[in-house]
């Protein structure tokens, strides 16, 4: 560029124009004074491109900043374009006339004429883009004095030539000097120059484009030629390129490309243009793309001469696009477009039905791919290329593919080597390449050389092919396109197989296979596996080969014949009888047959020692034909877990699910493996063996190990997992001999006899066919059966919810025989308890079950009873059976028992709990035949009834009331109640005779009037008895014992009567609230001193022996206010009829019928009767504290039993150091209160408006 001097005008011929656009610049001519121009020229070329100019363009195209450069040539008239010449590259865009004339005379004499001539020449070609530059210099001006400053030469020129465009004349002042004036004029000049240049571009290009468009619109006309149009539009592209507007240039080529493609498509659709026929010539040369020259003039000429064929046009077009894209720094687009182009060309040739010799296209594509790749490599850095492999790898792969097809076409791949026909073909192909292009002749690895070398010999081909393949695979892997890499690898494996190098092919096939398997692509998987089988066969890898065969034989994607073929391969091997165990081949059973289900008999898979067990397998054979197995065996792992509670017989029989059949998930369709398995959840309930221990419940996920397996390991299917667990040949093996597996479902049954107790887990399934062993190394879900031993056991439990005493009820005896065999004559010896006799029913039978709830059988049972023991003769029972029978027992009511013993009833006062819980416990000792130890069985009975008695008095008459309470859930009928005593007491029943019903939780009362003889002992035992039986089912009534109740009567005579009388005030008729009334209490002794009343403390008083009585008036209901003293001590003579009257004042507090206040009597025991002396009065005054206590004592416990010591009170008082007299309550019945229950009417006081109603 720098070398382009101003004198460089030697292209006057114009033909041919060297189109080398990068070196081209828009042409600007100069005319006028050569010296002036040469002086300015260096600065001009340097300054012009310095500042960018905005180029505004027509048709809405975006404005661009453009740096302008120019190629200055001397003006010649030939340069001006002739009419119709459309060449743009040689078009002068601007014409400049230079002059430094400063003398008017000189101007008029020479310069003006010269300019006029120049102008005329321009005008003749209707060129309007011109400029006149006047260079002024101070030096020149000084020499000339006759210069008129007002009318300079520039003004003259303006007036002479630029009649309306005064700006077409510029003045450049002192261009070579560095003054501010000079600089100013330079910048003005440059700006003008740029503007004019751009204006010229815009106008001329616009004009050109218009013409071009017009030409394009004519494309439907018959004579239109694409090639001509191509040249025109390319001219435009050249100009844009010249202006460094590569984007615009590329657009021109893209438009041409699209136009051509459209024509080809239209041709395919039957709309052929005439000019296309030239592109349909047969392809004779296939030398590939040439991208190293910016412009391939040879091809361009062919196009211009309308002689190019399709490949040539495409090649040229792409080379131009490539050049521009590389200028635009878009090498990756080149790669992408190249691939598209190559595919497209192949299609277009097909579409246009261009005849192409076989392999020629492959050559072309191969060369083109490499050319593009090398071109890109040539302009990019290594790191950049590596980062953009994704764009180029397609070309690599395409080249590999093409080379491969060329190889097989030319017989370079097959084992035998090329035949003569192949060689002829190779020669033809190489001929089509022509001679190598000059620009690559010196390059060592040009595509041309590569192809030529590759086709020259098998070795060279292999070298080049492998190189390409490995490069492609590596690139694919580096960008993570592993699938594509594997596919190329498979092609490579194919190649190796054809070259008889199976050992090299195998790893490629294996890796491809594992990928198709993990991603679940069946057809590719089958296909690859078939290839692998062939490879392994050639390699002689017996075991892998057979394994692959087995998978292929089971492959439904293959035809039946093919499957049988592979199956036969295995059988052939199996039939080979070498006899040594080393040649045994172990294959996964899973590829031959699938385990679908497994079931045990008994269904819960629990057997006792010695029991028989059956296991049924269902195998789905995948083979196309029946398979004769020598044997098939299941290997069990034995585990003894004695300590675990789970392994006890009860737990096993109870908790193991009885469904029995275990279903195995099929390995399933390949695809389904990608989905994660569903969690298998199940409930868990567990109870620790000790009663009342911990109970836990929860949810267990049974296949956690499957769910939590890391995802990558999941892809390796269990089929191919090569775990070599050695088969443990041992006792725990179930075997089946001579089994034929038919295609489809097969049922196999295994029998065994359980031996040792423990858990047996099925670990492996092994089948053998001659030399081949088929193994299923893992079985999931876990299959196991349990064998248990059990100690004999006796269990006794009531039939009903609870046992009631006094009623015969049946009790169930359960004998779990366990390992013990009950022989004839084995007996259960039950020790007899007196309180719980065993009732001997007639013909008791026992039921015998098998442990696992089999059907029962009935056997009779004989029971013998001696004085001490009841022996039950058990029927002979085999081990692990359950013997069940029932016995009726009755627990005698405890009262009856006590009575028989003559003991005091309620001895259990010290066992109040037993009373309150109302149960009685019976223990029976049983001697079992299997044990030297006795078993103690405890049964608890509930007492059904409870009784209480009450002594009631009326004056001297006495009554006894017995209350019977039903405490259990049953309903009873009571009858034959009776009360009897030992001696002279007579009872007259006042209640209804006959039977009565007693509901649950209810009471029934019986009452008797007592009459007696004198001189009774102090304590009289009484015996109450009543018959009862449960009402809904009174079946074994005969055995029922009456319910009895024993109590004692003591001190029941009446000693005193107390009568109280309240009388209203004398002036009133009724008592009134708030008014004092008098209370008169009369205490009368009814009998003389009694013999048996020795404990009564008597004092001598007035000649009579007297008893001291303590009285107290207390009103429990707060109805009365006692005024004055409410208690005191009176002396009562111990004499019949003795009477003592007390007067007190009471005040009613309420109106209505008020019950009388209570009058209570106690025996008063003065303190001197003890060791201490104390003043009686001081104690009496202290009544507020002391009186209450005896009252409480009396009321609380008087009726229960005889003498009451003041107990706690006395003790506490004595503790304080105050010795006190004691109060002793009377026995119930000794006092008869005549006014008990009496009421008196109290009227409200008169001025009381409120009526109070008090209901007590």
């Amino acid at each position: 560029m720098e070398g382009a001097g101003p004198g460089d005008t030697g292209n006057g011929d114009g033909e041919p124009v060297v189109v080398c656009t990068m070196e081209n610049k828009p042409i600007v001519t100069w005319a006028g004074d050569q010296n002036v121009f040469y002086a300015v020229f260096p600065i001009l070329t340097q300054q012009l491109p310095r500042e960018p100019m905005e180029w505004r363009r027509a048709y809405g195209r975006a404005p661009k900043m453009i740096h302008l450069e120019s190629h200055f040539v001397q003006f010649k008239e030939e340069l001006l374009p002739k009419e119709g010449n459309k060449a743009l590259l040689t078009f002068p865009f601007l014409h400049i006339y230079w002059t430094d004339c400063c003398d008017t005379e000189v101007y008029k004499a020479a310069t003006k004429d010269d300019i006029t001539k120049w102008q005329n020449a321009l005008r003749a070609h209707s060129t309007t883009d011109w400029l006149i530059v006047v260079v002024e210099s101070e030096a020149k001006k000084k020499n000339k004095t006759n210069i008129l400053p007002r009318t300079s030469i520039a003004d003259k020129i303006r007036s002479d030539f630029c009649n309306k465009q005064s700006d077409r004349c510029m003045v450049l002042v002192d261009p070579l000097k560095d003054t501010s004036r000079s600089q100013e004029s330079w910048s003005l000049f440059l700006a003008k120059l740029r503007t004019l240049l751009l204006t010229s571009f815009t106008r001329n290009l616009g004009h050109f484009e218009d013409e071009m468009r017009t030409l394009r619109e004519k494309r439907t006309e018959p004579g239109w030629s694409f090639c001509d149009y191509f040249m025109v539009q390319e001219e435009l592209a050249f100009v844009f390129e010249m202006l460094q507007q590569f984007e615009d240039a590329l657009v021109q080529y893209d438009e041409l490309d699209a136009l051509f493609s459209q024509y080809v498509l239209n041709f395919g659709a039957g709309d052929g243009a005439n000019w296309l026929s030239s592109f349909c010539q047969p392809v004779r040369s296939w030398d590939g793309l040439a991208l190293r020259k910016p412009i391939d003039m040879e091809k361009r000429d062919l196009i211009q001469r309308r002689q190019a064929n399709l490949l040539e046009l495409r090649s040229y077009l792409f080379s131009r696009q490539c050049t521009l894209l590389l200028f635009l720094q878009r090498p990756w687009e080149v790669a992408n477009r190249a691939l598209e182009l190559l595919h497209n060309c192949v299609q277009e040739l097909k579409l246009l039905e261009v005849s192409v010799p076989p392999g020629a296209l492959d050559c072309w594509v191969f060369l083109s791919c490499l050319e593009v790749l090398q071109r890109i490599e040539g302009c990019c850095e290594r790191a950049q290329i590596e980062a953009n492999v994704c764009h180029t790898v397609g070309l690599w792969s395409y080249a590999t593919e093409k080379l491969q097809s060329l190889g097989s076409l030319c017989g370079l791949v097959c084992e035998k080597g090329p035949c003569s026909e192949d060689l002829q073909r190779t020669v033809d192909l190489l001929a089509g390449l022509g001679a190598e292009r000059a620009e690559t002749a010196n390059t060592a690895h040009s595509p041309y050389k590569k192809l030529q070398e590759a086709l020259s010999s098998e070795e060279a081909f292999e070298k080049h092919y492998l190189e390409l393949c490995h490069a492609t695979i590596e690139m694919y892997n580096s960008i993570g396109r592993s699938r594509s890499a594997k596919l190329v690898g498979k092609d490579l494996a194919d190649f190796y197989m054809k070259k008889s190098c199976p050992q090299k092919a195998e790893p490629f096939l294996q890796s491809a296979l594992s990928m198709y398997q993990s991603e679940g692509w069946e057809l590719p998987l089958t296909h690859t596996r078939k290839q692998l089988a062939e490879c392994q066969r050639q390699l002689g890898q017996t075991e892998p080969y057979l394994r692959t065969c087995s998978l292929l034989a089971a492959d439904v994607n293959l035809s039946q014949e093919e499957r049988q073929l592979f199956c036969q391969e295995i059988l052939k091997f199996a039939a080979k009888n070498s006899g040594s165990t080393e040649s045994l081949v172990c294959l996964p059973l899973g590829s031959f047959a699938q385990l679908t289900s497994l079931s045990f008999e008994p269904p819960n898979a629990v057997v006792h020692v010695g029991g028989s067990l059956t296991m049924e397998l269902t195998l789905l054979s995948l083979m196309p034909e029946p398979l004769q197995l020598d044997h098939i065996s299941g290997h069990f792992h034995y585990n003894l877990d004695r300590n675990s509670y789970r392994k006890t017989a009860e737990w096993l029989t109870r908790h193991k699910p009885a469904s029995g059949t275990i279903f195995f998930q099929a390995e399933g369709p390949l695809g389904a493996r990608g989905t994660s398995p569903t969690p298998e959840l199940s409930e868990m309930h567990e109870k620790s063996p000790s009663e009342g221990g911990l109970v836990s419940a929860g949810v267990i996920c049974r296949n956690v190990h499957v769910l939590l397996r890391p995802p990558d390991s999941q892809s390796s299917s269990s089929l191919d997992r090569q775990t070599s667990v050695t088969v443990k040949e041992g006792a725990n093996t179930l075997k089946c001999h001579n089994v034929t597996l038919q295609p489809g479902l097969n049922h196999l049954t295994f029998h065994t006899q359980a031996q040792e107790s423990g858990t047996y887990t099925l670990r492996q399934l092994v089948a053998s066919i001659g030399e081949v062993q088929l193994k299923l190394p893992h079985i999931y879900p876990i299959v196991q059966y349990d064998v248990y031993t059990q100690d004999p056991q006796l269990k006794v439990e009531p039939q009903s919810e609870c046992l009631l005493a006094g009623i015969p009820q049946s009790v169930k005896f359960t004998v779990t025989t366990g390992h013990y065999t009950i022989k004839t004559g084995d007996t259960l010896q039950l020790s007899n308890t007196e309180s719980m006799p065993i009732l001997l029913g007639a013909g008791t039978t026992a039921a015998i079950y098998r442990n696992s709830q089999g059907e029962a059988s009935e056997r009779s049972l004989s029971i013998q009873r001696s004085e001490k023991v009841t022996s039950i003769c058990l029927p002979p029972t085999p081990p692990y059976h359950i013997l069940e029978f029932e016995l009726d027992v009755v627990c005698l009511l405890p009262e009856a028992g006590h009575l028989l013993n003559g003991e005091l009833p309620r001895r259990g006062r010290d066992q109040p709990d037993a009373l309150s819980s109302n149960t009685t416990e019976q223990r029976v000792t049983v001697d079992c035949p299997w044990s030297i130890y006795s078993t103690i069985i405890s049964l608890s009975f509930q007492l059904p009834l409870r009784a209480q008695h009450t002594l009631l008095s009326s004056g001297t008459r006495k009554y006894i009331q017995v209350c019977v309470e039903n405490t259990c859930e049953f309903q009873f009928q009571l009858s034959e109640s009776s009360l009897s005593s030992t001696r002279d007491l007579k009872f007259r029943p006042l209640h209804r005779a006959g039977s009565q019903d007693l509901q649950s939780q209810q009471c029934l009362f019986f009452i008797w009037e007592v009459t007696w003889c004198p001189d009774l002992p102090p304590s009289l035992p009484c015996h109450f008895s009543v018959s009862f039986y449960p009402v809904p089912s009174p079946n074994p009534c005969g055995h029922l014992q009456p319910f009895t109740y024993l109590f004692h009567l003591e001190h029941f005579y009446t000693l005193y009567t107390v009568r109280a009388e309240i009388s209203p005030p004398p002036d009133a008729q009724f008592c009134k609230t708030g008014a004092l009334c008098s209370l008169e209490v009369c205490i009368t002794r009814l009998c003389d001193s009694l013999e048996n009343d020795k404990e009564e403390t008597l004092t001598d008083c007035n000649g009579y022996s007297s008893a001291q009585l303590f009285y107290q008036v207390a009103d429990g209901g707060s109805n009365w206010a006692v005024c004055g003293r409410s208690s005191g001590v009176v002396m009562m003579p111990v004499k019949e009829g003795a009477c003592h009257t007390l007067h007190m004042e009471v005040m009613p507090l309420f109106a209505g019928f008020l019950p009388y206040p209570d009058v209570r009597l106690f025996r008063y025991l003065p303190h001197h009767s003890h060791s201490q002396q104390l003043d009686a009065d001081s104690w009496i005054e202290n009544d507020s504290v002391s009186v209450e206590d005896p009252c409480e004592l009396g009321s609380g416990r008087a009726q229960s039993r005889g003498l009451i010591s003041p107990g706690a009170t006395g003790a506490s008082v004595e503790h304080k150091g105050l010795p006190m007299p004691r109060l002793q309550p009377f026995h119930p019945g000794q006092i008869s209160n005549g006014s008990l229950g009496r009421q008196i009417l109290v009227v409200p006081s008169t001025d009381d408006h409120v009526l109070e109603v008090n209901v007590t």
Binding site: L265, G268, L339, E340, L342, H343, V346, Q347, K350, L351, C390, G394, Y398, Y476, I479, G480, R481, S482, R483, S484, L487, Y516, E519, G520, W521, E522, L523, P524, H527, P669, L670, G671, A672, R673, G674, T675
Partner: protein, 139 residues
């Protein structure tokens, strides 16, 4: 129209694949499987870009000499791959797009079937008919 239509699960195993019966089925299986490389690439590039995953159409995955392979990915990462004959130039991008949309609708119908277990091979006849309609020439 299309010469091969495939539906591929998220885990890259085929849920459905059908090709014109006249041609080698195996070849299409290989082609579709290989195209998953580009699908993966495009999906990961999409993930890196904006979270706007509205655009399900992946465009041309890769061209071969004879076929063009187009891809489409649903929001649940189920992939649709369609192989079109390269000589069939009448098919524009928009038409491919609408074919995919049709396929997606039909696939959605399959998924709505309560008896269809997601992840199982598609055996729906309605879906099959949709695919058939795409595989016969439009004219």
């Amino acid at each position: 129209m299309a010469v091969c239509v495939a539906v591929i699960a998220k885990e890259n195993y085929p849920l459905y694949i059908r090709s014109t019966p006249t041609e080698n089925q195996l070849k299409f299986h290989y082609t579709v499987h290989t195209s998953l490389d580009v699908v993966d690439e495009k999906i990961s590039a999409m993930g890196k870009a904006v979270m706007d995953q509205r655009e399900l159409y992946l465009g041309l995955l890769y061209p071969t000499e004879d076929y063009k392979v187009y891809g489409y990915v649903t929001n649940s990462k189920v992939k649709f791959v369609m192989v079109v004959d390269s000589s069939n130039t009448s098919l524009r991008d928009n038409e491919i797009r609408s074919m995919f949309r049709k396929l997606h609708n039909s696939y959605t119908d399959v998924m709505c079937n309560p008896f269809y277990n997601p992840g199982d091979p598609i055996q729906s006849r309605a879906f099959d008919n949709t695919v058939t309609s795409m595989m016969v020439p439009a004219c």
